[in-house]
């Protein structure tokens, strides 16, 4: 059973998700690479195998793979299959990209609320502190430095 599981990529398509199926696939592959599940050189399932496994049309999987290839995340070798690109720091780069994406959205929202870049950065520090966990509470109360 374990062996069976490891043969599967466990990529999923959620039909309640309004985003197109190829985008869902791209994000899941990015995620696998970002967390290190799929290291450099890892072989991806063939297009037709993944189509059968996810029950999604071949053309959709092809599109996801070709966009991942264009982004430099995977390479396809004719007749041999598709592999995670051998690029130093790819997983770190992807995680940074995700962080940048979230920060850009926050910056956007901040701008709409009329916050300056400095005020936004200060707010970010506060939020980060609040999420640090138990150790954070040992620090002196924040009201002190804010006044």
């Amino acid at each position: 059973m374990l062996c069976m599981l490891s043969m599967h990529s466990s990529l999923l398509i959620a039909h309640a998700d309004a985003r197109p199926m190829y985008l869902q696939l791209i994000e899941q592959v990015q995620q696998r690479i970002a967390v290190g599940d799929w290291p450099a050189g890892h072989e991806l399932p063939s297009i037709r195998a993944l189509a059968a496994e996810t029950r999604v049309s071949v053309i959709t999987i092809k599109r996801a793979y070709s966009e991942l290839e264009r982004a430099g995340l995977i390479v396809t070798r004719q007749g041999r299959g598709s592999f995670v690109a051998e690029r130093a720091g790819l997983s770190l780069e992807l995680r940074r990209q995700e962080l940048d994406g979230q920060l850009a959205a926050a910056a956007d929202l901040g701008r709409r609320l009329g916050l300056s870049a400095d005020a936004l950065a200060e707010r970010m520090r506060e939020v980060a502190r609040a999420h640090e966990g138990p150790e954070a509470h040992r620090e002196p109360p924040r009201s002190h430095e804010e006044s």
């Binding site: 039909h15 037709r48 189509a51 059968a52 029950r55 049309s57 071949v58 053309i59 959709t60």
Partner: protein, 298 residues
């Protein structure tokens, strides 16, 4: 590799109250085509023409390289066909039917047939008469799939199936196209099934093909654009617009050719884009058919 498994050129078939007109269509090996149409659109007529069960009044039909219906005996060896009204012998069991087809088709794969029995939760000793609708459809699919034909022609294979059975059937269909030499053409009212597994989508309405395109570019082109119109600004003419509705200063335009040109046209007219949404295949189908019918009536 890109061999045509189906080719229709200028095909016509007229009945007293219905006419299939000027059909051009092709399907390549390794592909799945979903045929969508309202009741009476001509889906079954088209599938029967492909099977050689009907003769076209005009035009050319080739299936797996064979002219239909003249060379149907050659083509049918490699076709699996399922239609709801297909005859099974009520008193006989599924096992008896499997033996019958096994005797007729050299390519019958018994191991695969047994896999399908288990996956579809069917039993060889079941008399066909006692089968539920869903079991009957699955039994027909089993008989069509087990010889591993190069082409599957399926008329409404998922209609009337419960959700579990539908998933089992879709899984088996996608398993077929692991082999890039094989192809499937299926008709369905269930647009979600079509959207999920088709490489090419064809819309048929009142005997005419109103659209036939690869799924990705098809779904990508359609968008619903919500606009805010400042006072004095009318709804801009957008590329590919098929429907417009307005309410006060808000307007919603449905387009089949979404691109930067749409955004530019809005900016140029002074309208602000509030939201851009994708459409489901069902919404696209209804919008296509409605706009086509309006055009024909003009």
């Amino acid at each position: 590799m890109s061999a045509r498994v189906i080719q229709l050129e200028g095909v016509e078939k007229a009945y007293r109250f219905f006419r299939l007109a000027d059909v051009h269509l092709s399907l390549e090996a390794g592909q799945v085509m979903g045929l969508v149409g309202a009741n009476g659109a001509g889906k079954s007529t088209m599938i029967r023409l492909l099977m050689g069960m009907l003769t076209a009044d005009r035009g050319e039909i080739r299936v797996l390289g064979h002219a239909m219906p003249a060379e149907q005996a050659l083509a049918k060896r490699h076709i699996g066909f399922v239609a709801e009204d297909m005859g099974l012998y009520g008193q006989a069991t599924l096992g008896w039917h499997m033996q019958l087809v096994r005797g007729l088709r050299d390519s019958w794969d018994q191991g695969y047939a047994e896999h399908l029995l288990r996956h579809f939760n069917l039993h060889t000793d079941q008399p066909v008469r006692g089968l539920s609708h869903g079991e009957r459809v699955k039994a027909l699919l089993l008989l069509a799939l087990a010889p591993r034909p190069r082409l599957l022609l399926l008329d409404e294979p998922t209609t009337g199936l419960d959700p579990v059975a539908r998933h089992e059937v879709l899984a088996e269909l996608m398993d077929v196209v692991r082999d890039e030499r094989r192809a499937i053409l299926f008709s369905s009212h269930h647009t979600q099934d079509v959207e999920q597994i088709s490489d090419v989508i064809t819309f048929l309405d009142r005997g005419r093909i109103v659209e036939s395109r690869d799924k990705e570019s098809f779904l990508d082109g359609w968008r619903r654009v919500s606009l805010d119109l400042p006072p004095g600004v009318g709804v801009p003419a957008l590329p590919g617009a098929v429907a417009v509705s307005t309410s006060g200063r808000a307007a919603v335009v449905t387009t089949r050719e979404y691109s930067r040109a749409v955004e530019e046209a809005c900016a140029h007219a002074g309208a602000t884009i509030r939201d851009v949404q994708r459409l489901t295949l069902e919404e696209i189908f209804v919008a296509t058919v409605t706009s086509q019918r309006e055009e024909q009536q003009r």
